[in-house]
Symmetry: none
């Protein structure tokens, strides 16, 4: 038997709120999604005027970050042509996103979930995701 | 050109909060999702201990209720074997849900979005969805 | 070698116009789609305020009517539980629609394409489709 | 609540007509599709002799241009290997098209829909899309 630490809806909302605050500072409406330790969606929010196509991307960045316990920016480096995980984006029925904006959420050295942000440039998404993760 | 009334993230959160309160009264953890007038997800919340498989169902009940401007319970009656819309659940790449829990959201006689609830019995989902819609 | 009679874009537009006129008479905004002899989309129109979920359905009713050279209403009778084609709606990657509103388009006894209508009750869709087909 | 400007069927037809005229000048039969502010198809036309495989591409270029409020040519530059959105084409269930021919439609500084063109070279598709958008 094993015990899994995971996030609650309350935790997920705190994460989203922190990300939203950062997105507002950047003036960049964003989609923010949080998954639990099982990789399953806990909460999602699309800020007003954020891209429609980013709903799917935010959820799947969060999934990806938990699926491989890695930031999607780091995974991207490994998934570039010629690198060790090139082609990984074709796995998991198209759910693997290999660009910045997804981060695992840690508690006591364990991954307890992940956050995915989509709505701006790669740098903006990463910045919002970092603020969101810090909100945990 | 045409002007469409749609819901904001703030509206969606009010809808989810109202649904969540009703779900707590029923003691039935639920997934609650809200889409805008274009059928695109605005916000989603999975209450602690709610079914994992209901993430997708709640989002797609909301989509369905907006896609056909009808409650999914009413659509279900028309989609039964021998009825006029039997087979509709095979359309829209599996996104059409034909059981209770999805309701259009109205404002001034217009459909401005929809809410989808999944997590309990059909009656419970319907009750949570009604409370959620009333929260708009 | 074989020669296939098929419809042009001009034909398809005449079909859609005729359907649209009937839909206006019925006061039922509809999606109307026309496919050619190869089952491929030639033209589609969503009338203002027609259901979003009917985009996919209108296109696939047209596909279905040409795919089996039969009206989707007649196919429905054969696809009911216990009938000879029960389960056919699971074929062709979910593109087979088994409710009224799709009709083959004939010219000189040959099927040259098909029209699909979605937006109202089964009777309304059928009526619009018949008017559309007569417009060829 | 929020109010969204979107295009009507009449607007979409004007856009398609303008694109068609340009495609004829170029001697390049094209598929032309228009989506509304919600990313949902309003109208589509396949000119005689245009590629069958471009039906899907034209519709999804229009979707993409609205999903990210960007021309698909500009998105393409950002989706190249090593760029910030490399991998985005794997999102949204294969609906994201990252080559020229999709343009957002603007009115009073707002994106009110999008047009997608497919049928010729990238330069031709882009030229037809620009003419189409100007027809709004």
């Amino acid at each position: 038997m094993t015990s899994i630490e995971s996030i609650s809806l309350q935790d997920a909302r705190r994460v989203i709120d922190a990300g939203e605050k950062r997105a507002q500072e950047l003036g960049q409406p964003s989609n923010i999604a949080v998954v639990d330790a099982g990789g399953n969606l806990v909460a999602h929010a699309r800020m007003d005027d954020a891209w429609l196509g980013s709903v799917d991307i935010s959820i799947n960045k969060a999934f990806t970050a938990r699926a491989f316990d890695i930031s999607t920016a780091d995974l991207a480096a490994n998934a570039a042509p010629g690198q060790q995980f090139y082609g990984i984006s074709g796995s998991n029925q198209g759910r693997v996103m290999i660009f910045a904006g997804g981060l695992p959420l840690h508690r006591n050295g364990q991954v307890v979930g992940a956050v995915g942000v989509s709505g701006g440039s790669g740098d903006q998404d990463q910045s919002v995701a970092q603020a969101a993760a810090a909100g945990l």
